[in-house]
Amino acid sequence: MSKEIYRRAPADAHPPNLSPEYKSTVSRAPRQPAIVLPHTLSEITGPLLATERLDALENDLTQQRSGEPLGERIVVHGRVLDQDGKPVPKAIVEIWQCNAAGRYHHPGDQHDAPLDPNFYGGGRVRADEDGRYQFITIKPGAYPWKNHHNAWRPAHIHFSLFGPAFATRLITQMYFPNDPLLGFDPIYNSVPEGARHRLQSSFDMEATRPEWALAYKFDIVLRGRNATPMEG
């Protein structure tokens, strides 16, 4: 059995843990280099949540309360792929986001913006055999945070993916194309420059629903496997 089942991420793929412009990394980023583990069963297995039952409406964040939330209704869809472009089938995709006014349904969010009783902001879906997923939601607002003077997070949706293995676990954020706040955001800009654009969704005219919702496409690429000379 090869000890490198999943490909290692190149150095310019992910943000460094220590990104001082994002201030809370200073006390929370490990400083010692991570020890490279050969891939054993512990790393190449992982939770598939195969028996987890998802409600049909969990991917529609506009239908989780008695009324419709305020804001611009959107479709967010895409595929979960590996580095070879092969679909990652049946992966659970989880999202969470603030409401259209920029406020999270969370006791810790003290932003002076209204809560929307019709918007909870969490959703899940299981991608299909081709890795396709889709959510209906509202466009999240920008919100201020305390990182530095007049700091604002660009509109974003948090994404959580398991993929096929412990080694493929990923939590990330999806942004909207050409948001003027992106250039000022230390979290987005913690990502090496050449890879940042992968976090921007693209406006998808083809997937818009006439007279109902605009659409954004966000493909997610998880680690792929090394070519195996021999399958043990």
Partner: protein, 187 residues
Amino acid sequence: MSHGLTPSQTIGPFYFGTVTKVYHQQLAPPGVAGERIELALTVHDADGAIVPDSLIEIWQANSHGRYNHPEDRRNLPLDAGFEGYGRVSVDTQGCARFSSVKPGRVPWPEGGLQAPHVNISVFARGLLNRVATRLYFDGDPANAEDPVLKLVDPARRATLLARKDDKGVWRLPIHLGGPKETVFFDC
């Protein structure tokens, strides 16, 4: 054609709304074979302060040393109702608790067995990437021959060893930085 990896971003402070609905604190419902264990994991920053907005996930084999996953094709029993996955947010004391069974030993690719261990992912505001570590059980004789522990500087191995307290709870402090920084793995 190679597709560029989607970069990681922080979980942020406000994940509560979604993922609390899918917490898994109890991994082993009644009837699952094995020695019952309680885990208490705390998360600390470089100054030793607790990290109250962190989320911990665990992944482990069952008591027979079998992972509930298609990659584990060995002819060992699977337990009904035991997936081996846990997810809990820390409480106001910075502590995440799990109830499970002690994992059995799983193989090392070059032969031999690893010591019983639990795989851990930590997410937090201020952490731009998932950090991964392992929990080993202090005093387990198999630790002496564990090939992963052997990769670790002996002076830092204790950061991976959970110790049993007087109530029988296995406690492991996870230090994201500082003099007691936990050993993290590129897995």
